[in-house]
């Protein structure tokens, strides 16, 4: 026992010696001693030599109080030669800092430009591993900190930040994200202080793949080169201001009051381009603006493809000017499930853009249905018609899976041809009639689709269905109330309590339940089709035959349809006599 005790005591003492050694001969002390030695070697002045020889290692720190919260920068404890011009060729940490005129270390410190943890004197802690909020910035991103003080627009010292700002507009980021003083988008998170709250690696990974950390993100993935990504990161890292919404109420309200209805064009394309454009014809102006305001960040036109939205080349054969203008002002007013943000631009720019789109000649399309399908349909419906085309994940409702014969073969050919000819209002399915050369072309395409993709011939268009041509029940408040009760009993599990197609079961159902608040779609569907879908179900989807499964008679179905109609149409006016009766029964 005694010898063991003696042994342990000796080991404890030895450990203390080790700890003391580490304390008094730390790495930074070695660096400093090496510096003193090297500096003596290159010194010519004897007094300087003597002073250096007498110098002992000590923590070197700069306390910066002039810029925001107090910073304690001890970087020069290791980088002691930073301000000694004779060490330009030495290895780090003893290399001379390149001269930055007007920026003295004593005033600015180091972390104000480089980030990192100024207080630490251990490499790992000071430079900060990736999980630190302020790891050392790579050289090219230091610009993001420069522009915190150098706020002049397009300051020449920060080319990367400026390129990033241009991309922010060109790639339509501004339409979804707010940056105080620059943009007012409200679809994505505010980015006013993203540079202060996120590491640059995180920002970069979000741009590379928006769904990396958030599987439900609707942010389109941009097709960017690495250099472009870094410039966006530099621009976003520079956004270190305060959130608009976190400002004191008075200044928040002031900012909201000042908020322009639209962004001035100059702030997006720059002053010079803006002035040039003013003199041109609307179509010319639209041609110049289209790639600059962000359209091709998602849409496809000619050789450029944003891989998110539909192709624009056929617009002139598909849409009229009013539809385009309504769509520019608020895309959700014509396609409620659209991902496209409303553009904060003045009407005359929308006019120019639609003038340009409508003036374009429709590209020639191949004559064979097979090639037509590949050229026109596969972008959404997929090469093999499975509804999984390039941009399918961004569309709502999703493109129809054409291989589902149980759906395709139970619908009349006329209905399918009509959908191709006239499009499906309220969805991304555009009217292709003109492009395909009228009904024969559309019919040929439908026949090709049925033959090539919907092969199961066992499914047949059902016959002998009894469907009233018009609603048996008048469109009245009582009917709507009865319909709502049925809906909240039978339908909400899939269609949702708000009837927006997002019921608790909806996630597992393909195709997704219809959004019954999609006004353009509901308006385009005949009463008979709604009635048939409810009474007999929709074959090839999860929609059950309510007329049999739930024993709903035609009048009850009429009530339900009145309720569905009431979601997107103004409420019916109750007749005066009935109002009186209701009032009486409720005791008023």
């Amino acid at each position: 026992m005694r010898s063991a005790l003696a042994f342990i005591s000796v080991v404890v003492l030895a450990l203390h010696a080790y700890v003391f050694h580490n304390q008094f001969f730390a790495r930074w002390q070695e660096y400093q001693q090496k510096y003193f030695k090297d500096a003596v070697a290159v010194s010519t002045n004897d007094a300087v030599k003597a002073a250096l020889t007498a110098r002992r290692p000590a923590i070197e720190q700069t306390i910066v109080r002039s810029f925001g919260a107090e910073r304690v920068d001890r970087c020069q404890t290791c980088h002691i030669a930073a301000d000694d011009p004779r060490f330009t060729k030495a290895d780090q940490p003893l290399r001379t800092h390149p001269p930055v005129p007007g920026h003295r270390f004593e005033t600015f410190g180091c972390t104000i430009c480089h980030d990192g943890q100024g207080r630490a004197v251990d490499t790992e802690q000071a430079h900060g591993a990736e999980e630190w909020p302020w790891p050392l910035l790579p050289k090219e991103l230091i610009q993001s900190n420069c522009v915190q003080c150098h706020t002049q627009p397009d300051w020449a010292g920060a080319p990367l930040v400026n390129a990033g700002r241009r991309l922010f507009f060109e790639r339509a980021c501004y339409t979804c994200h707010t940056i105080a003083g620059l943009s007012y988008g409200s679809i994505g998170p505010e980015l006013s202080e993203v540079g202060r709250r996120r590491r640059w690696q995180y920002v970069k990974s979000k741009i590379e793949n928006p769904r990396a950390t958030n599987p439900t993100s609707t942010m389109p993935r941009q097709d960017l080169t690495d250099a472009q990504r870094m410039s966006l990161v530099a621009f976003l890292k520079a956004q270190q201001g305060a959130h608009i919404s976190r400002a004191p109420l008075a200044s928040f309200q002031a900012a909201q009051a000042e908020r322009p209805k639209w962004l001035p064009l100059e702030s997006i394309v720059g002053h010079e381009t803006g002035a040039q454009l003013a003199a041109q014809s609307p179509a010319q102006r639209g041609a110049a603006l289209l790639p600059k305001v962000g359209c091709l960040s998602c849409h496809k036109l000619d050789e450029r493809d944003g891989r998110v939205g539909p192709e624009l080349a056929y617009t002139s054969a598909q849409r009229e000017s009013p539809w385009l203008l309504a769509h520019f002002r608020d895309p959700k007013s014509v396609v409620p499930g659209s991902l496209m943000p409303p553009y904060p631009l003045p009407d005359d720019i929308f006019d120019s853009l639609s003038a340009y789109l409508l003036s374009r000649r429709v590209p020639d399309v191949p004559a064979e249905p097979e090639k037509r399908f590949a050229a026109l349909c596969s972008r959404c419906h997929g090469e093999k018609g499975q509804g999984n085309g390039l941009i399918a994940e961004y569309l709502d409702p999703k493109p129809r899976d054409l291989t589902k014969a149980a759906f395709m073969r139970t619908k009349t050919r006329e209905r399918l041809v009509a959908s191709v000819m006239n499009g499906v209002p309220g969805t991304s399915m555009a009217p292709w009639g003109k492009v395909l050369g009228g009904e024969p072309g559309a019919a040929a395409l439908v026949d090709y689709v049925l033959a090539a993709w919907s092969k199961d011939s066992a499914a047949q268009v059902p016959k002998g269905r009894v469907i009233p041509a018009a609603n048996l029940v008048a469109y009245a408040p009582e009917s709507i109330a009865r319909g709502e009760a049925i809906f909240l009993n039978r339908c909400w599990g899939c269609h949702g309590k708000k009837a927006d197609g997002h019921g608790p079961n909806a996630e597992d159902i393909v195709p997704r339940p219809r959004n019954l608040r999609n006004a353009p779609f509901i308006a385009s569907v005949s009463y008979a089709r709604l009635h048939e879908s409810i009474k007999y179900g929709v074959q090839g989807t999860a929609m059950p035959a309510a007329g049999f499964d739930f024993s709903l008679d035609d009048k009850t179905i009429g009530d339900v349809i009145n309720y569905i109609t009431s979601l997107t149409r103004p409420a019916p006016k109750a007749e005066p006599a009935k109002v009186a009766e209701i009032n009486r029964t409720s005791g008023r």
Partner: protein, 455 residues
């Protein structure tokens, strides 16, 4: 000692006078001297002058109690030194950690020692509880000391938990967020208890100052008092538990002689001295005041007990020092309430709870732990048997041992699962396999060979 006179004599005897005024006894050479040394020294007199040989058996006690106390001392000293540098403010706390880990002399060592000793103390106190349970030492007359011990365990856990927040890094912030959320699951008073702890609805400045005061003042005070009571009760309950029959004269004498011979490296004596002179030291021995002239199974505490204690202390210090030199206490990024790590995990000793909470918030976080603590506290009053005390895993206590071991293993498995087998969203992961790429994150599109002009 010959008294000297005159100024020179006073000067000459000055060191001896100072020495003898502090240490009343010379280094002892007889049993009487040994007893007097123990009895008249403030720091030693909490010990009995004579120690039962069974209490010195390393394989019986494993030194766990002294180990826990040694860790407490290490924590006390390193903690007080750390207090000189720490500021309990959300703006400064993390900066102070950075200072400690680089600039402050011995800062890293102090922080590491404090961190590893804290984790070690939780573990050792738990093991100490297991030792007392498996040897049946909580039985009469030691029931209340067991209760004090359970309270000390809870205090230790709470001490460690409150200290966990102080570095104000991500690990601290989210561990305390999870830990206090578990407290919030208690019925009726849960939310209030949580609010009382945090002084707010979320972990923030109020929580930091509360945890700080609890950690450096309130809890150490109660802990010190309870440790005092715990030690005092050992004396009053007749020393450490020992097997029935180890006090029988025949056995005693043989054992004592053999041990003494072994410890002193001497040939065994034929017989213990029979005619002993007892001072007050002899009277205050064991649970009762008694003077006996019978041979017993004890040896002088000086030096046998003290050397053993010193050995355990030195060993503990050594282990903590080695850990502190080899392993750095983790320090993550500063706390950020808007950036939760996934998963957020409580401190390891609460991960069993968190694992259970993932099945049922109330039962896992409150119900089962409360039942478990109540059972622990009430154990000595429920188990009134007398057989099998002082023996590890006694045959007479098969049921108790088995039940306790099972519960212990279940908790251990839950802690291990919670620590190593839980990944993002508390989903089961296998630690040695790399996490699969999320199916929701499609591979990025192939980069274009050359970006078209104008982009």
């Amino acid at each position: 000692m010959k008294s000297e006179t005159g100024f020179l004599g006073t000067l000459r005897s000055f060191p001896a006078n100072v020495w003898s005024s502090i240490f009343r006894n010379p280094l002892p050479s007889s049993d009487l001297g040994r007893s007097q040394t123990t009895f008249s020294n403030f720091f030693l007199h909490i010990h009995p002058v004579k120690t039962h040989t069974n209490s010195l058996r390393a394989r019986y006690t494993l030194g766990l109690g002294v180990m826990a106390f040694s860790l407490f001392l290490i924590l006390l000293v390193s903690g007080i030194l750390l207090m000189f540098y720490y500021v309990p403010s959300v703006e400064q706390a993390h900066n102070r950690m950075l200072d400690l880990s680089g600039t402050v002399a011995f800062g890293v060592l102090l922080r590491n020692m404090h961190r590893w000793a804290a984790h070690g103390m939780v573990a050792i106190v738990l093991l100490h509880l297991c030792r007392v349970f498996f040897t049946g030492s909580y039985r009469k007359p030691r029931e209340f000391n067991w209760v004090v011990g359970v309270l000390l365990l809870l205090l230790t856990l709470f001490m460690s938990f409150t200290g966990y927040l102080l570095p104000w890094d991500q690990l601290a912030f989210w561990a305390i967020t999870v830990g206090t959320a578990i407290a919030g699951y208690a019925p009726f008073v849960g939310e209030q208890v949580r609010f009382l702890l945090l002084g707010d609805r979320v972990v923030g400045q109020e929580a930091l100052i509360r945890f700080y005061v609890l950690h450096v003042a309130v809890l150490p005070f109660f802990m010190t008092v309870l440790i005092g009571v715990h030690f005092w009760r050992i004396r009053k309950d007749g020393g450490l538990s020992r097997p029935e029959g180890s006090d029988l004269p025949e056995a005693q004498e043989k054992n004592a002689l053999a041990l003494q011979a072994k410890l002193e490296g001497l040939a065994p004596k034929a017989k213990l001295a029979k005619n002993k002179t007892f001072g007050v030291m002899g009277v205050v021995r064991g649970p009762f005041t008694k003077v006996g002239n019978v041979p017993d199974n004890t040896v002088s505490s000086w030096p046998y007990l003290f050397i053993a204690e010193l050995f355990v202390f030195a060993l503990t210090l050594l282990v903590i020092l080695v850990l502190a030199v080899v392993l750095n206490a983790p320090l993550e990024a500063p706390a950020d309430a808007t950036h939760p790590p996934n998963p957020s995990k409580a401190p390891w000793y609460f991960l069993g709870l968190q694992e259970m909470v993932s099945y049922s918030a109330f039962w896992g976080g409150v119900g089962i732990p409360t039942i478990f603590v109540l059972l622990l506290v009430l154990l000595p009053y429920l188990d009134r048997g007398t057989k099998g005390v002082g023996v590890w895993f006694s045959r007479h206590r098969l049921l108790a041992t088995t039940t306790f071991t099972t519960l212990l293993l279940v908790n251990l498995v839950l802690v291990i699962v919670g620590t190593f087998f839980r990944g993002p969203n508390w989903a089961f992961v296998v630690p040695w396999e790399k996490p699969a790429v999320s199916e929701h994150a499609p591979a990025p599109p192939a980069a274009p060979a050359a970006a078209p002009a104008g982009r």
